[in-house]
Amino acid sequence: MNRAHQLTFDLVHRSALSREDFLIAPANQQAVAWIDKWPDWPSQSLAISGPPGSGKTHLAHVYMAKSGAHLIDGSQINQINVRDLVETNPTLVIDNAEAVVSEDGADIHEENLFHILNLLKETGHHAVLCSITPPARWKVKLADLKSRLNALTHVAIADPDESLLAAVMVKQFADRQLRIDHGVIDYILPRMERSFRCVHHIVTAIDALALREHRNITIPLIRQVLDTLNQEELEI
């Protein structure tokens, strides 16, 4: 088969990240409840963990809108003056927080996160830490940090159930301004891996193929995408 492929621009689409756009389901309702409860928290920090695509960044943005929190990435923690950071920002979001775990012995990250957690206590300021694995499981070398991570208030976003997967899929299509028939979702759901990550892969692939081949999003097109994805998986 030899189809001429239309090249498409990988235009950045904007995801809707407000509280109203967040899909609440059993998998994430505790995390949402903690964010909604702010600033009435039992401790200075809240750790949210969950698989990629489970909505951590979205929740972090909800928190930022609510609290005006300053956002930093865990990988930047070695480049900042932590005392200034915590003292000048009453609220913080540390996304990708497990980036502080150093494999190459660059312990400055760990030490800085340790100081941040102490400074939060000292100033009474608040922070949200987002990571894929729960902080209690990070392989940190600094024992002082380890015990502080173990004590963090932590909420995990669990694996999605089918209705959440369906809702996330509809939202991700909508973020790309694609309106999808319910039949399409019903077709995809039983045929896909049930993870947030996979929703993202499928939506991206369907969007790309539809755009490239100027086709509507139909079951035959989806079958083609699922076959390709399955093929890729089998090859891995």
Binding site: N118, R137, A143, N150, A156, D159, P190, R191, N230
Partner: protein
């Protein structure tokens, strides 16, 4: 106009301003940030308002102070600024009164030779500006004593209660989260309570270093030295963080000597004994060694249980003894982990409004208690289910449709869907190349059976728990 009339006017203006803010920022933000504000008084051209917590004061300052000032100016052009301070709640108000009484006492003690410039209130302020906040909850009474920490506890008490320095320095060391900081804060709280005239400074080694470096940058080391050398009791926490930082160590060494020479008390904590601190200068190590070195050992089961009971009592939450025993048995690393674990369990119970049980405890601390969430594989499910129903594993893939094998096969498919993220077509493939609709049918069938056959439901639940480990 009398001052009372003036106050009434200010109150009316504030009512206007807060209702304007309510429409400007919306109900939710108003409830969170503006409503808790109370108007204190007008002080010349400054309006003084108070909020209940430091966090709120930072917040209001960062987000609303410009708007507040502008709105006041609309009402009264002579207003220059709005000043936000923290109005302590009832609890800390009591402490403040206590402190005021203490200050009164202090000034009566303070003779003309006292080094403080000005009155004793300033002295108090000066001390609190360089000391980190001392949490009043950390006292000797709230420290649970057991075999592993009784020596360090006795040494700290001695320092707190003595009139003349009993040993200098007191060097407390032990693994993380065993109570070094608690003991230091207990010393600070005790001394501030019984001898408020003594200037007690507690800070982390990180803060000492930060202040020193800033003083160097601002070429203001004279003030730095003055501040530290006018301290009666200096407590530096986690001194290992200045290991390898030469200039900070040098300064600490001089501060240390100056204070010891004047007969002031020093308390230092670290994660290791002085001789084991790598990157610490020899002369400083020998200074640190020359007082009393007290170590805190790892906790025992009895101590952990005692700590949990005392903690539960303090926070006033009913915790089943089964849960406490479980925690004392499982969370053995240190006290911080233990108390942190208990806090997490309590916070969770309060969030979802349910009682604390062994099950919720295990669920909430799941990340702490288990090193990872290993995913179950479809093969493991097939094996476990076959064993349970006493059939051959190969029957999971076979075409046989006898109920004795078909039902377990359906259970295995159901569990594969519940416990793995695998797609239904893939699950079908692993069960002898069956179609995904067969898997869907199996899931539906098992759900139905669970509904009306409690024995069967229990079987499935048991299998699930075994597989989840």
């Amino acid at each position: 106009m009398t001052s009372e009339q003036g106050h009434d006017l200010t109150v009316n203006q504030w009512t206007d301003i807060s209702s304007r803010l309510r429409t400007e920022i919306g109900e939710a933000a108003f409830q969170s940030w503006i409503k808790p504000i109370s108007l204190s008084h007008r002080d010349g051209d400054i309006i003084r308002i108070t909020v209940p917590t430091r966090f709120m004061s930072d917040w209001v300052n960062a987000h609303y102070s410009d708007r507040l000032t502008a709105l006041w100016r609309d009402q009264d052009a002579s207003i220059k600024s709005v000043d936000v301070t923290v109005l302590p709640d009832r609890y800390s108000q009591a402490r403040n009164e206590e402190r005021e009484n203490c200050t009164a006492l202090a000034s009566s003690y303070t003779g003309p030779n006292r080094r403080q410039k000005g009155n004793s209130v300033q002295g108090e302020d000066k001390a609190s500006t360089i000391s980190a906040p001392v949490d009043p909850r950390f006292t000797f009474d709230s420290f649970v004593v057991g075999k592993p920490n009784e020596f360090a506890y006795a040494a700290a008490r001695r320092v707190a209660e003595a009139d003349i320095v009993p040993f200098n320095p007191l060097f407390l060391y032990g693994g993380v989260g065993l109570g070094k900081t608690h003991l230091m804060l207990a010393v600070a709280n005790h001394i501030r309570k019984v001898s408020p005239q003594r200037n007690v400074v507690y800070m982390s080694a990180e803060k000492f270093m930060h202040r020193f470096i800033r003083a160097l940058q601002e070429k203001n080391t004279v003030d730095f030295k003055d501040q530290f050398r006018s301290v009666d009791v200096l407590m530096i926490d986690d001194v290992q963080f200045i290991c390898g930082k030469e200039s900070t160590q040098e300064e600490f060494f001089h501060t240390f000597n100056a204070l010891v020479d004047q007969g002031r008390q020093i308390v230092v904590s670290a994660d290791k004994s002085p001789s084991y601190l790598e990157g610490m200068e020899e002369r400083l190590v020998s200074r640190l060694n020359c007082g009393l070195v007290a170590d805190i050992h790892a906790t025992t089961y009895e101590l952990r249980l005692g700590i949990l009971q005392s903690k539960a009592e303090r926070i006033g939450v009913e915790i089943p003894s089964k849960v406490m025993e479980f925690l004392a048995h499982k969370v053995t690393s240190n006290v911080r982990d233990l108390e942190g674990g208990l806090n997490r369990v309590v916070a969770h119970a309060q969030l979802i409004g349910r009682e604390i049980t062994l099950e919720t405890t295990q669920e909430v601390l799941h990340d702490l208690l288990r090193a990872n969430d290993r995913r179950v594989t479809i093969e493991e499910i097939q094996k476990q289910v076959s064993q349970h129903f006493n059939i051959r594993v190969s029957d999971m893939q076979s075409a046989r449709r006898a109920r004795a094998v078909a039902r377990p096969r359906q259970v295995a498919m159901y569990l594969a869907k519940q416990l793995t993220a695998r797609s239904l077509p893939e699950i079908g493939r692993k069960f002898g190349g069956r179609d995904h609709t067969t898997v869907m049918h199996a899931v539906k069938r098992v759900d139905e059976l669970r509904e009306y056959d409690p024995m069967f439901a229990e079987d499935v639940e048991l299998l699930r728990r075994m597989l989840e480990g």
